[in-house]
């Protein structure tokens, strides 16, 4: 594979006691592209995610990131390489304020913060950047609110802001739009488009209009196997896909 | 006239609460009564505290008593660790310590102190009493059930020496964790060892448990004798005769020895809701009495003088009869080998022991030379 492939998985499989959730999937994700992973429920999308980010160990197959084999790495190390994920069920630090949530991510730039002898004053350096990120996702009004008290949709937004704070080379977003009101969907799509400029993004999304408008390339999973690949136009015409996923209504 | 303050420091909530505890305070008060302090223009005050068998608590209290509350003498102090701690502080503060409750013979050995008297018993005496007498009684082959810590090891070591000296042999021993609950597997090993005597080189709850389970495995019925190296009247009381019958043990006092002991014990029982005195409590009585007598004789409470006097004049009390306090602080008196009665032998409550043998002081206690007490030349 040529070097403009940033992440590639080869014959990736995951088996849960006899049940094969992901079945020898080959993925190649081009640098700088927005790549959507769609498919019916239970197709194996989230599992794929967990495999790529090493939250699950693949039963077989190899994963290479920037030409480097990461199949045996720990999730934390993957993140350090610049391959960062979000979660399908939203993940924030409930007792920290929105600002602190983002700051925790920014703090990573300092490398490991084992420096228990230093004062936390050093962290205030990140406040402006954090505020900016929150503003990007429309949370500027909530900087001082404890994340746990934000409504669901806002939590998702905060999570994305936190993820961005890591300046990751590649982002994996699991259903970023789930449970968001229209207005947020718009904003987040815009945001994703913006950040995609210098990043690669792989996302799972059921909201087809979002997929259509955002993604350059689409992989359709069904029952753990790849059903179809290509851009939206192509995929959405594919009869199998319509039958298995999109359904009559949309076609 | 002199005002004396005596501190009874012992275990009031833990494993030794029954054999010392409040009973020791009662005994101390009786001593003051019988001494008729008031008439002699000596005012005696008694304070008491619980050291919970913890040396650090014991030492804190001792310090405070000596430094702050003007206590002149501390007595009882069961649990070797606590006793040794108090022993140290008493020496440092130059006061008087009359121990009755602790077993370790170090109090008058390596750790001996010019400010300490060790009254009622010690491991050496127990080992020799039981060990020697049993072998004479025909228990030649021994197997030890030993609590796996310093105290247990010491007890086993001493007894082994006696047994072998008396022509017996030790066919084996097993070390059980301390504290332990289930001794069955160790007892099984003892049972199959073919020994005549199973020596219990442990204390408190461990001993009770091992005896209880021994009876369950029919060890005494099986012809093997069970020898408790550190068993008190209260333990037998707790076990009940069904379980404890046939057990052999050594003590320096039993309420039913003679008229004096019976009379005194009756008074004690009245003052201590019906419970008969243990040798430790008896020791506290005798110790306090001797201390007060010494003070009277000296005409003051200067520790050095009083200690000297206590060692100089013979002891005489209704409980231990004639005796003396040796240079190294060891109180010398008879020891007795008892056998626990069967339920139908027992006529009255607390009627538990039958006397098997009386061990005279010279045989009972460790010779001065062997103790290795530094300040004794």
């Amino acid at each position: 594979m040529n070097n403009d492939i940033i992440l590639s998985a080869h014959s990736l499989s995951k088996e849960f006691k006899g049940f094969i959730a992901v079945d020898s999937v080959d993925l190649d994700i081009r640098r700088g592209s927005i790549h959507a992973l769609i498919g019916p429920n239970g197709a194996g999308k989230t599992t794929c995610f967990n495999l790529l980010t090493k939250f699950l160990q693949p039963t077989q197959g190899t994963i290479t990131f920037n030409g480097r084999d990461i199949t045996r790495m720990s999730p934390a190390d993957i993140a350090r390489l610049g391959l960062v994920r979000s979660f399908q069920i939203s993940a924030v630090f409930p007792h920290l304020t929105a600002l602190e949530n983002v700051r925790i991510a920014l703090q990573r730039q300092r490398g490991d913060s084992f420096d228990f002898w230093r004062s936390e004053r050093v962290l205030s350096a990140f406040d402006d950047r954090a505020a900016a990120l929150l503003d990007d996702v429309g949370l500027s009004r909530f900087t001082a609110v404890a994340a746990g008290e934000l409504p669901y949709g806002r939590k998702r937004a905060l999570e994305i802001a936190t993820t961005l704070a890591l300046e990751p080379e590649m982002l994996l977003l699991d259903e970023p739009m789930a449970g968001m009101a229209q207005e947020d969907v718009e904003r987040i799509s815009a945001l994703i488009r913006r950040i995609a400029a210098n990043r690669t993004i792989l996302m799972v999304e059921h909201n087809l209009s979002v997929v259509a408008s955002l993604s350059h390339h689409i992989t359709v999973l069904a029952r753990g196997k790849i059903l179809a690949e290509g851009d939206y136009a192509a995929v959405s015409k594919n009869p199998d896909v319509i039958e298995a996923y999109i359904g009559a209504g949309h076609a | 006239d002199t005002a004396v303050k005596i501190g009874v420091l012992n275990d009031r909530s833990g494993i030794y609460a029954d054999l010392s505890g409040e009973g020791s305070v009662v005994a101390a008060r009786m001593a003051v009564e019988d001494f008729k302090a008031a008439e002699k223009g000596i005012t005696v005050e008694i304070v008491s505290a619980d050291h919970q068998n913890k040396p650090d608590i014991a030492s804190t209290i001792a310090r405070q008593w000596y430094d702050q509350e003007g206590v002149d003498m501390i007595t009882d102090v069961p649990t070797s660790s606590a006793a040794l701690a108090v022993n140290e502080i008493t020496r440092e503060k130059n006061k008087v310590f009359i121990n009755s409750g602790a077993a370790t013979s170090d109090l008058t050995g390596k750790q001996c102190s010019p400010n300490t008297v060790h009254w009622t018993y010690d491991t050496y005496a127990l080992a020799h009493g039981t060990g020697g007498a049993m072998v004479e009684a025909g228990g030649k082959k021994w197997f030890f059930l030993t609590a796996d810590y310093a105290f247990g090891h010491a007890l086993e070591r001493d007894t082994t020496a006696v047994v072998e000296a008396a022509g017996g042999e030790v066919v084996g021993s097993v070390r059980h964790p301390f504290p332990g609950t289930d001794f069955s597997s160790f007892l099984l090993q003892a049972q199959s060892s073919g020994a005549d005597v199973i020596g219990l080189a442990n204390a408190g709850g461990d001993t009770i448990n091992s005896i209880k389970q021994a009876s369950e495995f029919g060890i005494t019925q099986g012809g093997q004798a069970l020898a408790g190296l550190l068993v008190f009247l209260t333990d037998v009381h707790a076990l009940g005769l069904d379980t404890a019958q046939g057990l052999v043990l050594t003590e320096s006092f039993y309420w039913d020895l003679n008229d004096d002991t019976r009379a005194w014990s009756k008074r004690f029982a009245e003052a201590h809701d019906g419970d008969m005195p243990t040798m430790v409590q008896a020791g506290v009585y005798a110790g306090v009495l001797h201390y007060l007598n010494a003070i009277e004789a000296v005409g003051g409470k200067d520790p050095q003088a009083v200690m000297a006097k206590m060692k100089e004049m013979p002891t005489d009390d209704p409980l231990f009869g004639q005796g003396s306090v040796r240079e190294d602080g060891r109180k010398l008196q008879n020891m007795y080998l008892f056998k626990v009665k069967t339920p139908d032998q027992s006529k009255a409550p607390w009627d538990y022991y039958e006397l098997v043998a009386t061990i005279p002081p010279e045989k009972a206690w460790r010779p001065l030379a062997e103790g290795g007490c530094p300040f004794v030349k």
């Binding site: 980010t53 993140a79 960062v84 007792h95 913060s113 420096d115 205030s124 890591l166 | 804190t60």
Partner: protein, 327 residues
């Protein structure tokens, strides 16, 4: 839904807004120092030293529970083993007190490293039980090992001369030595809490998987705080051994682990100064109830129950709420 409140009410650890030590904390520290300095002229020094040692112990424990969110039910292991080591070093090898104490602390830190690296593999209640079990292991070891003197413990430890110069025999001299150690310890703990490291700890306690996905090696952080806490607990234990000239099984028994939890709970877990107060209260109580035997444990139990049910923020926590300031 249910069971969301973290072990420590997060309100108490909101970081001091982008500043160093807030003024009222500064004031409290100075006040404490003052108290410490006049104390021995008013009260029995040995008693005060006991409070100081336990205060440090409790604060070290609170570092782990209140700020690391890890409830260790076996902190006696580090407290006790340190006291054994320093006692032995001072008595058998005749080391100077400061060296003996350092050695003890190091030992505790090492033990913390070993047990910690195992214990952090489990969370929450399991963690508590694992630490408790390990502590029990240390207890049995201390019973059997020859150098600990079994049940007798290590007795008559020399207080020695500080740096071989100042005689620590007199209670007052020793007292100021101890005061210095404990106060230093407290400042260290304070700084740990309010450091970048402390921030990450907070995040981890809040949402572990998320912290991982942000690239934090969570277990290393947990281990780090565990070792720090163990070491400081060791410092307290080692000092106590020199003060009482004694190291014994009580220091490694599970009741000791329970007591330190109680002190922290009563004083206010997750507060900076709570454990101090808790320690003072409990030690004083034990001192005056010593005569009541079993009642000591009963009363301690009652305090436990009451604090858990009605008084979760503890004395200082309540105070903090009342003053609307983190303490």
């Amino acid at each position: 839904m249910a069971k969301t409140e973290a072990v420590l009410p997060s309100a108490h650890v909101r970081p001091v807004a982008a500043g160093g030590m807030p003024r009222h904390h500064m004031a409290i520290f100075l006040g404490l120092l003052l108290l410490g300095l006049v104390g021995p002229f008013v009260l029995y020094p040995v008693f005060l030293m006991k409070i100081l040692c336990f205060a440090l112990f409790a604060c070290a424990f609170n570092l782990l529970l209140g700020f690391g969110g890890l409830l260790s039910f076996g902190h006696a292991a580090y407290f006790g083993s340190a006291s054994y080591v320093s006692a032995y070093a001072a008595k058998a090898w005749g080391l100077n007190p400061e060296l003996a104490i350092l050695l003890g602390t190091a030992a505790a830190a090492f033990l913390g490293l070993v047990f910690g690296s195992l214990a952090i593999r489990r969370q929450g209640i399991y963690f508590a039980m694992v630490t408790l079990a390990f502590a029990q292991m240390v207890f049995f070891f201390s019973v059997q090992a020859p150098f600990t003197g079994g049940e007798d413990g290590i007795q008559s430890v020399p207080r020695g001369h500080l740096l071989g110069l100042f005689d620590l025999g007199p209670d007052r001299n020793l007292y100021f030595f101890v005061l210095a150690i404990v106060f230093g310890g407290l400042l260290v703990i304070y700084r740990i809490i309010h450091s970048p490291f402390g921030q990450v700890l907070k995040a981890i306690r809040d949402n572990e998987p998320r912290s991982v996905s942000l690239g934090y090696r969570v277990n290393q952080y947990k281990l780090a705080v565990f070792v720090l806490s163990a070491a400081l607990a060791g410092l307290a234990g080692a000092t106590k051994a020199i003060v009482f000239q004694l190291a014994s099984l009580t220091d490694v028994y599970w009741t000791m682990s329970g007591e330190v939890v109680l002190m922290t709970l009563l004083g206010g877990m997750g507060t900076v100064f709570g454990p101090l107060v808790g320690a003072a209260i409990i030690v004083t109580m034990q001192n005056y109830l010593a005569t009541f035997g079993a009642w000591v444990t009963i009363i301690q139990g009652i305090i436990f129950v009451v604090s858990v049910l009605l008084f979760r923020q503890g004395v200082v926590g309540v105070l903090a709420q009342w003053l609307k300031r983190p303490l």
